[in-house]
């Protein structure tokens, strides 16, 4: 099992995971590598039944694994030697592999020991799943026009807003837009602290009321943005 694998094998396997040279090799070699890998990391012989005739790939892989078992029997050492031999022929050297290992920490072997389940598992990440009821959320509204003061305030685009203010020098930051808000109202409502900072430094009025008669700090409080409330009240 994987605990007994040599560092060289791990490195070689690591190397082959990312090796570009692998794309040029024949399927026969790839299958041999696969068979050896499974033989060494999972079990000497395949632990599933042979895939059906229609599952070409699955069946070929299964056969390769089975073949490794027939060739090497109980000898992990001989199988590993053969694996390393192929790896070297594809450009692997131990030092190079070590380097790659440092660069590619996120890639690992095909299977991992899982503490939680007490099982050897294939690497995979998947979301929640099941069959029964379905989880749903509200569908989104139409996308807003972002290249307006309000748009920047909503999206939290500090750079965009700065640039807009620089290039539109006559802009009145305290003017209500067609929906009845200043950019400060919207930034406070959406919780975009950096935008609030910027607008205040540009001289935006904290006391102006929106179409619903609410001030920026009231909107921030209602929406639950405490940092902004504190900033505005300081």
């Amino acid at each position: 099992m994987s605990q007994n694998l040599s560092p060289e094998f791990r490195e070689a396997a690591q190397y082959l995971t990312n090796a570009t040279s692998l794309s040029g090799v024949s399927n026969a070699t790839k299958l041999e590598l696969y068979g050896l890998y499974k033989f060494l990391t999972v079990s000497p012989s395949p632990n599933t039944s042979r895939p059906s005739l229609f599952d070409f790939t699955g069946r070929a892989k299964w056969d390769a694994w089975d073949n490794a078992c027939k060739t090497y029997g109980e000898s992990n050492n001989r199988a590993e030697a053969r694996y390393l031999e192929i790896a070297r022929s594809l450009g692997w050297t131990p030092s190079e592999a070590s380097e790659q290992l440092l660069n590619r920490q996120q890639d690992g072997p095909e299977t991992l020991w899982d503490e939680e389940l007490g099982l050897e598992l294939e690497r995979e990440t998947q979301g929640g799943g099941g069959m029964g009821n379905a989880v749903s959320v509200m569908t989104g509204s139409e996308t807003e026009n972002r290249s307006t003061l309000g748009g920047f305030a909503i999206s939290g685009d500090v750079a965009g807003l700065k640039n807009f203010i620089r290039t539109h020098t006559s802009t009145n930051l305290n003017e209500l837009n067609e929906d009845g808000y200043t950019p400060l109202h919207l930034a406070c409502d959406r919780g975009n602290l950096a935008i609030v900072h910027l607008l205040l430094s540009e001289g935006a009025d904290k006391e102006v009321k929106d179409a619903d008669d609410m001030t920026p700090v009231e909107l921030a409080r209602f929406a639950g943005h405490q940092e902004i409330v504190q900033l505005l009240e300081s």
């Binding site: 632990n47 599933t48 895939p51 059906s52 229609f54 599952d55 070409f56 790939t57 699955g58 899982d114 939680e116 389940l117 007490g118 099982l119 598992l121 294939e122 995979e124 998947q126 979301g127 929640g128 799943g129 099941g130 069959m131 029964g132 009821n133 379905a134 989880v135 749903s136 959320v137 509200m138 569908t139 989104g140 509204s141 139409e142 807003e144 026009n145 309000g150 748009g151 909503i154 929906d179 808000y181 109202h185 919207l186 409502d189 959406r190 929106d210 619903d212 609410m214 009231e218 909107l219 209602f222 929406a223 639950g224």
Partner: protein
């Protein structure tokens, strides 16, 4: 007509028709998901069933179809113009209200909501991202379910005859090594807890992995132990070495009427496989095993639902949401706030009255003495829908009364939920005649919030069953009598849900929900729920869209938990 249009027209039905043949041919298994990705085209389109099915010998067409699809993938939502055209044409042919509302945009929206986009783009298997295990069409192709493209049934009935008991397989299906079967005893608090924890960490999530169902232990106990339940239908899978519960499937007995046929069936629910074991192909084995367990009890039909698209829905319903706690729903990104709104303005629009309106005209919590009247009203009301459960009085008592939690039941009960309360049932008793004229219910099903620092639980309520005698009056529909009564009744459900601290009340396009959801400010959800019948054929039932002269919703009268 332009050349492009012509070439589109020529290819139109092909990707739809020929998928089933591809499926039979292509069984290359786990390394090729391409064909799988295209199958649901037929499954999603009830309209496609009118397409010719005689083209059975079209083999080798797959690459051509794939090419056609690729060529058509122009639009930014990834839904081929082709498909939109086909659907649009079919909808217009059928006429009626749907046709009036149908345009390219609404069709695109509907298709997008039906998750067809990811399927076409190859991001998803038959049932969405990473759900190949459950949606494996090779598996479903061998099950007694209506297959894609087989066309509308000539009559209603079973697909596969019931087996005499001696022909039912006696041994459990083999599991992959390292795993073993385990029938759960949900009367044992420890095992109930194990099930709760499995589902809590691994069950259904929304598309963005932001919310995951968190069924409470009380809920599971209520949902899985109705009258006449079988413990053998609570099927678990454990790791052999350490006995950890890693997968589950369940069924409960129901009596169901589908159009004119009444039969015993099982309601299959809570199929869940541990996140780390999705490649072990446990789901098909679980489904086969629960089927075997049902067969052993002489049950050969089943009802189940899923957000996933499988062969072949008998109806597709859509979620709607009555948002209540606006600041929280916006903060956890359940409710995307429109650019023209602030949270404060939105909250004012969705403000819920404090006191139920019908309290002064007989609204109160359901009690034991109401069971027979509620049962009678319910049975009569449900006759109006195509597919419904038929409840005994014991079942009425169980579904509407038994999950009402621990604590006093008095006139102020509506103001807050009781300890462990999972179902909320209210009746309206006529003060003069003391007759029960209406009832409604909803259940509590929270979701874990996965992407927020501030909030960890979404308190969601779901509309359950209801009935009103307004449906039996002359002109119930024509004079909007039913619609008005349901708005009063379910309007109070919103108020009680709000008073009880729920963040949102959810409903599907089934029963009469379409009549009142819009006016009660339910907004469109991104989730759909597909209804499936196992080993039973019937024509599609009206869910999110009307079918023939049946208005939207009224085909389906089964609410799943």
């Amino acid at each position: 007509m332009s050349a492009i249009q012509k070439s589109k027209e020529k290819e139109t039905a092909e990707p739809v028709e020929q998928q089933p043949e591809d499926d039979v041919q292509d069984s290359s298994g786990s390394d090729d998901s391409g064909s799988e990705a295209e199958l649901p085209l037929t499954a999603t389109l009830p309209e496609a069933s009118t397409a010719p099915t005689a083209s059975k010998k079209k083999k080798k067409k797959r690459s051509k179809a794939a090419k056609a699809l690729t060529a058509l993938r122009g639009h930014k939502d990834g839904i081929p113009q082709e498909l939109v055209n086909v659907v649009l044409e079919k909808v217009r042919e059928q006429g009626g209200q749907a046709a009036a509302e149908a345009n390219e945009q609404t069709i695109r929206l509907a298709l997008e909501q039906m998750k067809i986009k990811d399927v076409i783009q190859g991001k998803a298997g038959i049932g969405g991202k990473g759900k190949k295990d459950m949606g494996d069409h090779k598996f479903w192709g061998a099950q007694p379910v209506p297959q894609p493209g087989e066309g509308p049934p000539l009559g209603d009935g079973y697909i596969e005859a019931s087996k005499p008991s001696e022909e039912v397989r006696q041994d459990p299906y083999p599991l992959p090594k390292d795993f073993e079967w385990s029938v759960l005893d949900l009367n044992d608090a420890a095992q109930l807890r194990e099930l709760y924890e499995l589902l809590c960490a691994n069950y259904v999530e929304d598309d963005n992995a932001s919310f995951r169902f968190q069924y409470s232990a009380e809920f599971l106990s209520w949902a899985l132990k109705p009258p006449g339940y079988h413990q053998e239908w609570h099927v678990g899978v454990r790791v052999a070495s350490n006995k950890k519960l890693v997968a589950f499937i369940s069924a409960i007995p129901i009596t169901i009427r589908v159009r004119d046929h009444l039969f015993h069936a099982s309601e299959v629910n809570f199929l869940c496989v541990h996140k780390k074991l999705r490649s072990k192909r446990l789901a098909p084995v679980l489904i086969k095993e629960i089927t075997r367990q049902c067969h052993l009890k002489g049950i050969f039909q089943a009802l189940y639902t899923a957000g996933l698209l499988l062969p072949t829905p008998v109806s597709t319903t859509q979620y709607y949401h009555r948002c209540i706690n606006i600041p929280k729903l916006v903060a956890v990104k359940f409710f995307p706030i429109p650019a023209s709104m602030t949270v404060a303005r939105l909250a004012r629009l969705y403000k819920v009255p404090e006191r139920p309106h019908l309290l002064d005209s007989g609204l109160r919590e359901m009690e034991e003495r109401d069971v027979s009247q509620v049962g009678e009203l319910f049975a009569r009301y449900m006759r109006r829908f195509g597919m419904v459960p038929v409840f005994s009085l014991d079942e009425v008592r169980h579904h509407f009364l038994s999950g009402m939690g621990e604590g006093p039941r008095d006139k102020d009960s509506w103001k807050s939920p009781r300890e462990g309360q999972v179902v909320f049932t209210y009746v309206v008793e006529n003060p003069q005649t003391h007759k029960i004229t209406d009832f409604f219910s909803f259940y509590s099903l929270p979701s874990t919030i996965m992407n927020s620092d501030k909030h960890s639980l979404l308190n969601a309520a779901y509309l359950y069953y209801y009935a009103t005698d307004a449906a039996f009056e002359e002109g119930a529909d024509e004079k909007d009598l039913l619609k008005k009564r349901l708005e009063e009744l379910l309007g109070d459900a919103v108020i009680i849900a709000s008073a009880s601290g729920f963040d949102v009340l959810n409903g599907l396009t089934l029963m009469d929900n379409v009549l009142f959801m819009k006016d009660l400010k339910f907004g469109t959800g991104d989730g759909v729920l597909n209804y499936y019948l196992y080993n039973w054929r019937t024509a599609p039932l009206a869910g999110m869209s009307p079918i023939d002269d049946v208005p939207a919703g009224r085909g389906v009268g089964v609410v799943m938990l």
